[in-house]
């Protein structure tokens, strides 16, 4: 396994990727949007790179599908997946997209009802795609909930949602940067999240005190310890934005952080 290195601004080093991805590479897997830095990775180019080397290209869309218009055909990815719960949908459900030609050649990983065409005592044949991979009684409520969430976001307009996220993150970065003692991570041009740390106040304490102000942020390693080690910090505080957030929420966050600093100054 090889890793595409990060440049100092939090973007992927594409030159290095060109060299790391060789004819021996089987899979190039990349996250579309970083859940820590908000970086939007150039996945279309990376998929092209993978295909040029004869590799499969896989995209983690958990953070991009909720915030950006994503077209699997345009990106030309072999697989893409995302979670329902980051898309205003229920937990316990997500989507795995795969090109039909791959799905048809793949063996089922689960056995159960509906994934079978014919069964005898000595053998069985698999149902067609996608049923081949949908063994057992499905998560019906989850499917309906996820469908409703997707319809809701689509009605708002995927471009409008993306624009809203971009503006909020831009405004948040601009306002947060004015606070003395704050350090922002990730590139200026990101979406969905802003990671930061505050001088002399551990991230979990920032989060606990912001919680008191009614502000829900996440603190810690964000399931990305290698990245945090690379940044050289024992965790960050992360504010995430969605369609229901407003610029006023950013102002409340800024005021909240100032209060946190007040408490620690005592």
């Amino acid at each position: 396994m090889k890793f595409i290195p990060l440049k100092n601004d939090g973007t992927l080093d594409l030159k290095a990727a060109q060299e790391l991805c060789t004819r021996k590479t089987k899979i190039l897997s990349v996250m579309h949007v970083s859940n820590v830095l908000g970086t939007i990775n150039p996945v279309k180019e990376l998929m092209a790179l993978a295909h040029d080397r004869g590799a499969l290209g896989i995209i983690d869309g958990a953070q991009s599908v909720p915030h950006l218009p994503v077209d699997v055909k345009e990106l030309n990815c072999d697989f893409l997946f995302f979670s329902g719960h980051k898309l205003l949908g229920p937990s316990g459900i997500g989507v795995l997209y795969g090109k039909t030609k791959h799905l048809e050649t793949m063996e089922p990983f689960l056995f159960g009802g509906d994934m079978i065409k014919e069964v005898s005592l000595t053998g069985a044949s698999w149902n067609d795609v996608p049923w081949k991979f949908e063994a057992g009684t499905p998560n019906i409520t989850g499917v309906i909930g996820l469908g409703a969430a997707i319809d809701y976001l689509s009605a708002l307009g995927r471009d409008a949602v993306a624009q809203h996220g971009k503006e909020l993150v831009g405004y948040a970065r601009q306002e947060l940067a004015k606070i003395p003692g704050i350090k922002l991570y990730g590139p200026e041009e990101g979406t969905a999240v802003v990671s930061f740390s505050i001088k002399s106040i551990p991230p979990h304490d920032v989060a606990a005190l912001l919680d008191r102000e009614g502000l829900a942020v996440r603190a810690g390693n964000h399931c990305a310890m290698p990245l945090l080690s690379k940044l050289g910090v024992p965790g960050t505080v992360r504010a995430s934005f969605s369609v229901y957030n407003t610029p006023e929420d950013v102002d409340v966050l800024v005021a909240g952080i100032k209060k946190v600093q007040e408490v620690f100054r005592q």
Binding site: P202, A208, R212
Partner: protein, 150 residues
């Protein structure tokens, strides 16, 4: 009201108390003495010629705690903790807890140190710690006990 309704009501009442406790604790969590121990930790740093040394982590928060103990005495019942230092990084709660604990157990017999209960540790902090931060509050005590097990 039937039995099921009564039970539901009871449960709801129970939940409400839980919520109030949570609010009470968060108001107090960053009291002055905790912040003081965080900013000016006692017994912080390296302890040369220590008898025991142990490191623990709290991966959820990224807390890291290393405790060094100096123990004197030959017979088991005479053994005493004569010095203690800790170092590491973590949230204010875990660091303040380590500082408070180090003052509390320095000079005690090893038997007494082994018998320090979680509730006693929380008592040193003097604030209600919610379930989420309990791990932070108890990390130092856990590290000391692990060191003594070895």
């Amino acid at each position: 009201m039937n039995e099921v309704q009564k039970m539901a009501e009871k449960q709801e009442a129970g939940m409400n108390t839980g919520l109030q406790e949570e609010v009470h604790f968060s108001d107090d969590l960053y009291r002055e003495h905790i912040l003081d121990h965080f900013k000016n930790p006692r017994n912080f740093g390296e302890l040369a010629n220590c008898t025991l040394r142990h490191k623990e982590q709290n991966p959820l928060c990224g807390d890291e705690m290393e405790i060094m103990l100096k123990i004197d005495g030959q017979q088991a019942q005479e053994k005493k903790l004569v010095d203690i230092r800790f170092q590491g990084q973590g949230c204010a709660i875990s660091m303040a807890a380590a500082s408070l604990l180090s003052e509390h157990i320095k000079g005690k017999s090893i038997e007494d140190v082994k018998n320090v209960q979680p509730e006693e540790m929380l008592g040193l902090l003097g604030v209600q710690v919610g379930v989420v931060r309990r791990k932070c509050a108890l990390l130092a005590l856990k590290t000391v006990h692990k060191a003594l097990e070895e």
